[in-house]
């Protein structure tokens, strides 16, 4: 799945995929992801005046990121949402390597990382006058980074993505099924959104 600004890459990627995966384009920004049972995604549409999204686009990521911290904690996974001031600067010496074309290849405000800074939840959004679409994707299991990198034409980036990310399954003490994670995430979202609307 490509981010909205990657649509020009479609033909080249289709050719490299050789039918190994279906290619889709999402409405929100950010980089490419490989979807499957290893990735639990959630989309939340809110009115522009909702407390989660009314304080600008950076703050709009905060609530969904912090909710994911709590949900992962319920599964025994310790992660934290990165505030903007803690983001690594790509132009600074010693900065982490980034893979700009991949959602999980870099860090944006309030995305989730483990203690070593490896990313496990990515965020994106689509803002328009009628509402805001917030999107999050959680790595619950190991990803075939080689397939994604090959499809995108950057096979050399596979080690960067593998070492720069971590799945909830790797961090948990017990197995985490995508269906179970999605169900708990939905429960938390319903509870939090009803509360914040009050």
């Amino acid at each position: 799945m490509l981010g909205c600004s990657q649509r020009a890459l479609r033909d080249d990627i289709e050719r490299r995929l050789h039918g190994r995966a279906e290619l889709t384009l999402r409405e929100s920004g950010g980089g490419a992801v490989l979807t499957g049972p290893w990735l639990v995604s959630v989309s939340v549409v809110l009115p522009p005046e909702h407390p989660w999204v009314c304080n600008g686009l950076i703050d709009s990521y905060r609530h969904l990121g912090q909710l994911h911290v709590e949900v992962l904690k319920a599964f025994g996974v310790a992660a934290r949402a990165l505030p903007p001031q803690e983001l690594p600067r790509t132009h600074e010496a010693g900065a982490v390597s980034t893979v700009g074309w991949a959602c999980f290849g870099g860090l944006s405000p309030w995305e989730l990382v483990n203690a070593e800074g490896r990313k496990l939840v990515g965020l994106a959004q689509r803002r328009c006058r009628s509402g805001v679409l917030l999107v999050a994707g959680t790595l619950v299991g190991p990803v075939d980074w080689a397939l994604l990198c090959d499809a995108m034409g950057h096979p050399q980036h596979e080690p960067l993505l593998r070492h720069g990310t971590v799945s909830a399954q790797e961090m948990a003490s017990c197995p985490i099924g995508p269906e179970r994670f999605a169900a708990v995430l939905t429960q938390w979202l319903e509870r939090e959104l009803l509360t914040s609307r009050a």
């Binding site: 600008g56 959004q125 328009c128």
Partner: protein, 83 residues
């Protein structure tokens, strides 16, 4: 003439060095547009958002083509208001 920009609200709390990407133009130079009409989609910190016409007018010149980035406050196009 009015310079069309991404509103200052959209740049709230964003690092001054960060630029937005002009993802897609929905109008062309010479098009007549209405106030509130969506002119372009831009991406800023993984957020896709619309830029709308501030007034009725004609798109006189596009300053930032699709696929290029632009900084805070930079006009992406010039709108000539209709009399």
């Amino acid at each position: 003439m009015t310079g069309i920009t991404l509103s200052p609200d959209a740049w709230k709390d964003i690092d001054p060095a960060t630029e937005a990407l002009l993802d897609k133009w929905l109008v062309a130079e010479g098009d007549t547009v209405r106030a509130g009409q969506t002119l372009a989609n831009v991406v800023l910190v993984k957020a896709n958002q619309d830029i709308v016409a501030p007034d009725d007018g004609r798109v006189e010149k596009i300053l930032v083509p699709a696929g290029e980035t632009f900084a805070r406050g930079k006009p992406i196009a010039v709108l000539k208001e209709l009399p």
